[in-house]
């Protein structure tokens, strides 16, 4: 299979294999994306985040189902944490979307974080680029976000949807953790349960207290994803935010900020690799001995190392 051609054609096997290369940190993946970068579509990325158990996957399933019926191609990436001890992961988001995955214009991929902190996998950005090369109109990025440490989604998504549910006990947590600040759209799912009104009130209050800097007013919607209620309104709101970003160059500004972050990250990773390489060299052990014996100080050694790399 000529993977480049197949990828541009939107062939699912090609997409899948390319994403695997990215996940495995195979240089082929970067090469692939670089070669095809000019042909990358302007894929719009919608992030879906929130605590576990609120119904993110069910919600994503219903939203993507409707959007894909409107002649749009949609990719879904569902990220779940890998075990820090074993490296393994149970990726269970796909279950909710199995029917959807049979549609020719829908592609669904589960990813484990593979040691990366922040809520996304290292390869997620690359995977999104691959989906963009395959011509996807939208990519839905689903991840677990409960606190301040799971906000990498900000670096990757254009519209961020924060999903919550009544009675999940996350109220104070969420507000304290400041994840209120990263959401553009807020959804209270499982709105058929007790405590909805209260939950929406709490959310609204927390938003009112929040940062008034941005000129987008985050809205709170309620849904019962499993019954398909509130989905149309949510899609409208997402479209609304998209249109908002597309005026006055806001999206471009957002993307530039994200790209700057990305380049910073790539550089940091490369430099760190270099440095770690050096640190692991046999002769560096002598330097370490000298530091322990107080013959040299760590700052001097670091400076020397930096100069060497420069």
């Amino acid at each position: 299979m000529n993977i480049k051609k197949s990828l541009l054609d939107g062939d699912k096997r090609a997409i899948a294999k390319a994403i695997t290369l990215a996940e495995n940190e195979d240089e082929e993946a970067i090469k692939l994306v670089r070669d095809l970068y000019k042909k990358t579509s302007d894929t719009y990325v919608i992030g879906i985040t929130g605590p576990p158990g609120v119904g993110k996957s069910t919600l994503t399933d219903k939203v993507v189902d409707q959007i894909s019926d409107q002649q749009k191609s949609v990719g879904v990436i569902a990220v779940d944490p890998s075990s820090p001890f074993t490296g393994g992961a149970l990726l269970g988001d796909r279950i909710r979307m199995q029917k959807l995955s049979l549609k020719p214009n829908v592609f669904i991929r589960s990813m484990g974080t593979r040691g990366q902190l922040g809520g996304l996998a290292k390869a997620t950005k690359l995977a999104i680029r691959i989906l963009a090369i395959a011509g996807m109109d939208y990519v839905f990025l689903e991840t677990v976000g409960v606190g301040q440490s799971e906000v990498d989604i900000v670096k990757t998504a254009d519209t961020i949807t924060m999903v919550m549910a009544p009675g999940m006990g996350d109220d104070i947590q969420a507000i304290k953790a400041g994840i209120m600040e990263i959401g553009d759209v807020f959804v209270v799912n499982k709105a058929d349960k007790d405590g909805v009104a209260r939950k929406m009130q709490e959310l609204q209050m927390a938003l009112d207290l929040g940062d008034k800097n941005q000129d987008w007013t985050p809205k709170v919607l309620k849904t019962v994803a499993k019954d398909g209620e509130g989905i149309e309104e949510l899609i409208d709101l997402l479209q609304h935010h998209k249109s908002f970003l597309e005026t006055d160059g806001r999206l471009s500004k957002l993307k530039r900020g994200q790209i700057k972050q990305e380049i910073l990250q790539i550089c940091q990773d490369e430099i760190a690799k270099e440095i770690v390489n050096n640190l692991n060299q046999q002769d560096f052990q002598n330097e370490l001995d000298k530091i322990v014996n107080k013959e040299l100080d760590p700052y001097l050694v670091a400076e020397r190392l930096l100069n060497k790399i420069k």
Partner: protein, 136 residues
Amino acid sequence: MNESIRVLVAKPGLDGHDRGAKVVARALRDAGMEVIYTGLRQTPEHIVEAAIQEDVNVLAMSILSGAHNTLFPKVVNLLKERGAYQDMLVLGGGVIPDEDISQLKENGVAKIFTPGTDTRDVVTFIKENYNKKKEK
């Protein structure tokens, strides 16, 4: 390289007994693999589509209802049609009599794990036999 063995654990057909599938899924996760579980009542089309999109190294199916002779070969054939069979280690488990095993192997299932299987044997078999990605 940050490789991981990716496994799809699937329940084809109408059988609702998932204790074994879930125990195996957890054991594989504890052994460092990435496991995608499909849930119940999967058609061969669902399973193959998931296997392709997730680009799994291993497809492990569990059936306790006796429908394995129909459903396992169906899945394998569909994988072959889609050009995905050669990359995948296909495994089966559940209530499957010994005398059906050779036929299933001929139909493309690499190994059948019957009741009483030690999950460590499943892990070992996968680690020794999964296809490393060859095609680019």
